[in-house]
């Protein structure tokens, strides 16, 4: 008993010092933490911008705080015993083998904490899996190394959003604000994972399976994401963006996507580019409404040329801001910032402006057309092309001349 009293007395003496030290420690760690959150990381998992991500955030924040507190208690106990019980020539301690009461209490406490975590976890899991109140459906298909979006002309897509014919795009998912959008996620080759951190957690896209993922954005803007399941050589270059538009802007976007194909004016670079596009690009890339010289509709056949059997639909390429798996911008840095940093009110207008001649990021697009695999790794070993039965893994180097690149760019600039 006396020993215990001594111990308490001793700890009282040091307690003041410890209190100051722990205050300083808490202040330092809080500062470090605040400072460590780099501003505006586009994929920050702690900055939700939609109800699903908010649900996750509301669940995880308290867990992080409780884990932090538990951690501090354990570290304090370790630090205290290291300080208090260091060898100062004291007698060899009593050889106690444990105190059942202490052990039971210290087992029950974590059990209770975890129960407190488990219950909201379970309910959030089921809330996030809710699909019965879906307002819009989009098919999302991953393949090496880009995402395809197919807005099918079905049900509420037609009735509510005027999607009277399927819209097929790539790179950027475009959804209306405050709408319960259901993504039907699948893959054409290997497993990928769809992740827009500010809107929701990730969901794998698995060949042969369709997984459901709810996307809702509560504020117009552009939200970055990346494929998060290792999917081969260019996994690092498989990115995506989700664009949230106010309802009125969304209707404009849909109308624009469904517009008839505009034939380039005869004699322009773009017209020459169209002919070259048919010859060089349309084997894989679909442009809706494009006609061959004999007047027949041009239909791409990527399934005959590519391992994944699909290439991005380029019908309205210049309404998007990115290309090649959203890895490069179609906009120059200034024009890009203009869109990304727009306020919610201005965002729709700036996004819908698409890519103008002045804003086009000529450098990256031309490099891509010159030699795509040099920019984005697609062939670990080009000699191994035989292993795929002659199919390409991605866009090959086409050997275009600079003049040819000029006219292709001119043609593409009109795709909006």
């Amino acid at each position: 008993m006396k020993k215990m009293i001594d111990q308490v007395g001793e700890s009282m003496k040091t307690a003041g010092r410890w209190r100051n030290a722990s205050k300083a420690a808490i202040a330092v760690s809080a500062l470090t933490f605040v400072a460590s959150c780099g501003r505006d990381a586009p994929q920050d998992t702690w900055q939700p911008a939609g109800p699903n991500a908010e649900r996750i955030d509301n669940l995880q924040r308290p867990v992080f705080y409780v884990a932090g507190i538990v951690g501090v208690i354990v570290f304090a106990a370790v630090a205290w015993s290291m300080y208090r019980y260091r060898d100062r020539g004291q007698a060899i301690p009593e050889q106690t083998h444990g105190k059942p009461a202490v052990e039971i209490v210290l087992t029950v406490i974590p059990v209770l904490i975890l129960l407190g975590v488990a219950i909201p976890t379970a309910s959030t899991i089921f809330k996030l899996a809710e699909t019965s109140d879906t307002e819009m459906t989009i098919n999302v298909t991953g393949q090496q190394w880009w995402w395809e979006y197919d807005y099918p002309a079905v049900g509420s897509n037609i009735e509510q959003y005027g999607i009277t014919a399927p819209i097929v795009t790539a790179g950027q998912l475009v959804i209306p604000e405050n709408t319960k959008v259901l993504l039907r996620v699948t893959s054409r080759d290997v497993i990928h994972s769809y992740w827009i951190p500010k809107l929701n957690g990730k969901k794998d896209s698995v060949p042969g399976r369709v997984h459901l993922l709810r996307m809702e954005g509560s504020k117009p803007g552009i939200y970055a994401g990346q494929c998060t399941e290792f999917c081969g050589l260019s996994h690092a270059y498989m990115r995506m963006e989700a664009v949230v538009l106010a309802r009125a802007d969304y209707d404009k976007w849909v109308a624009n996507q469904l517009e008839e194909y505009t034939v380039p004016e005869v004699g322009t670079d773009a017209a020459a580019g169209e002919a070259l596009f048919i010859q060089q690009c349309s084997r894989c890339h679909q442009v809706n409404g494009l006609k061959n010289s004999d007047g027949s509709l041009n239909i791409a056949a990527p399934e005959q040329n590519l391992v994944s059997g699909a290439a991005p639909n380029l019908t309205n390429l210049m309404t998007r801001n990115t290309f090649a798996g959203a890895s490069w911008d179609l906009l120059t840095p200034e024009c890009r910032d203009n869109v990304w940093n727009a306020s919610s009110a201005d965002f729709g207008e700036r996004y819908l402006a698409g890519v103008s001649t002045e804003c086009l990021n000529q450098r990256d697009l031309r490099e891509w057309l010159r030699n795509a695999p040099a920019k984005k790794p697609m062939y670990a070993d080009p000699t191994k092309l035989t292993s795929t039965g002659g199919l390409y893994r991605g866009m090959p180097a086409l050997g275009l001349t600079e003049d040819q690149i000029n006219i292709i760019v001119a043609y593409l600039l009109e795709r909006k």
Binding site: S36, C37, G38, R39, A41, P42, D44, T45, A53, I56, Q60, G71, V74, F75, A77, S81, M82, Y85, R86, A91, I92, P93, E94, Q95, H97, G98, E103, L106, T107, P110, L114, V117, A118, T121, A122, I125, Q144, D189, I191, S193, P197, G201, K202, D204, V206, P207, G208, R209, A224, T228, F230, C231, G232, R239, V307, S327, D329, A380, S387, T388
Partner: protein, 671 residues
Amino acid sequence: MTIIDRPSTDVAVIGGAPTGVKPSEALGVFKRPAASTSWRDWVVTVDHKKLGIMYGVTAFFFFIVGGVEALLIRLQLISPDGKVLNADQYNQMFTMHATTMVFLFVMPMAAAFANYFVPLQIGARDVAFPRLNAFGFWCFLFGGLFLNSSWFLGGGADGGWFMYAPNSSTLFSPSHGIDFWTLGLQITGIASLTGAINLIVTVLNMRAPGMKMMRMPIFTWMVLVTQFLLLFAIPVITVALFLLTFQRSFDATFFDVASGADPLLWQHLFWIFGHPEVYIMILPSFGIISEVIPVFSKKPLFGYPIVAMSGAAIGFVGWGVWAHHMFASGLGPVSVTVFSMATMAIAVPTGVKIVNWVMTMWGGKLSFTVPMLFAIALVVQFTIGGLSGVTHAVAPSDTQQTDTYYIVAHFHYVLFGGAVFGLFSGFYYWWPKMFRRQLSEGLGKWNFWLMLIGMNLTFGPMHILGLQGQPRRMMVWTEARAGEGLFNFGFWNRVASIGSFVLGIGVLLFLVNVIYTHKSKKVAISPLDPWDARTLEWMTHNPPQEHNFDTIPTVGHLDEFFHRKYETDASTHSVKQVHSAEEVMAELNSHPDEHIHMPSRSYWPILLALSLPVIGYGLIYNRMLMAVGAALVLLTMFGWSMEPSTSPDEDFDPPAPGEGGGHTKELSPLG
């Protein structure tokens, strides 16, 4: 419960007495290798201590290989759009880094300690099956070399250590890297499986008289649990690897979606193995520090039965949490909820261990030697890893974290901050036992602090990177996703890369320490019991002779050695030393056991293990070579089975009828 009691000697006697059988010399292709001190003895040895050292040296070699791979990865990521490695090389690098560290470093290093110390801790003369033990080591060595030979034969595996289908099929990975990977792991898997059976039998049957299960040192307990995990986990990965080999080499369609397969099959198989694997890596280190902390706190382990049973509980629950690696795989909310809850449940026995280590230190008399520092660092760092683990047991939260650097941070705190720090604690603690010299404490402190700082600089920032949204397995990161301000991706990636080199220097200092300790004339021979230890392995010479103990001790207590040195006053509970370690040993050895005989050396383990990579190369390059390898396997197995476990020309005293085996009981007839 005979299994708990000291094993009956009858079993050993029945087989251990090949009295009637006169093994013919003509049966052996080779003359049986005899004792020798040259390098040849290391090739044919069946001594568990020599094999333990060989496991350790080989595993450390692979630790350096995996470390160089890690440093190349960090060099690539030190700045945006890194150019050190191309995409193909980067993908091979992170695949082989993980594979090497898991299968060729942490697991075999734990096996090194288990091999060396479990027989000593339970007072046995060797393991139950000494030749099988040698075979296991050679499988590990040749499997590891085979796996790494892929670097020189067209490149390493490039599908990630989890090797998800269908990215692992020949269509998406046409090089031979994955073939080397599947076959190499198959061979090292044999090492793990035979090792597991061997150690389980050893622990259950060969404990010294009086050493009940609940008197076993805690390290032995944790090794026992680990071996049961291996026994059940390795067959799962074996099956998965066979399916993949058949898919890649013989056009099978187990994971081919076009043929109706579901690629999630691979994920389930892999993680049913892969999650117990996590505990396979961490439990031996838990065992090591559960020895070290009591020794340097001068107190018994707090709640020994709870620590032992929580280890077993982890071993059981560990089988029911694999799908927490698959929360984003689309399992459906019911499965996700179940696995989320199970994962939280496993945090309880793990937390219990942390509480027990802290309570062991609490009220003790702590000396901060290097092994103790590594052990305390494990407690702290594993706590961080465990708590971040709880944040992704919360499945919705995990869907934000999985496949980001947050996970990389989490498991490196568990595996580097935990498992590897435990192994280093073990190096420093048991070095004088194994090599008669104590590693320099001065250099050891530098070693410790550089590793501690390096480890936290490397992996600490990865928590932030992951929460900021940097995915893992990316050959480059881009400014476009890095965020604004000083503390963006760029800053933390730079810190992590610098930290990794500090860590590398820290590890290098360990090698410097080893060389210094053994080359410098200033380092004296370690005393018999340098740490005032508590367990049986310290009750014999440094290093132990081939037969471990001159006299097998009879065990009356948990921490037997401590109880022979110290006496507790029943009324005041004060403890005082009554014997020195030397006195204890002198008393024990005053009546040395007679007729000690040890298992004989053999060529067969290394020959059989050598035949396995031949099949591997044959499968990849030439089917005829495969047939040659298979023939070699059959021949060496036949040769082995014809060889008696004990050479007839060695001293062997068959037990007299009715005598009950005498001192030969520790030896297995089956070897």
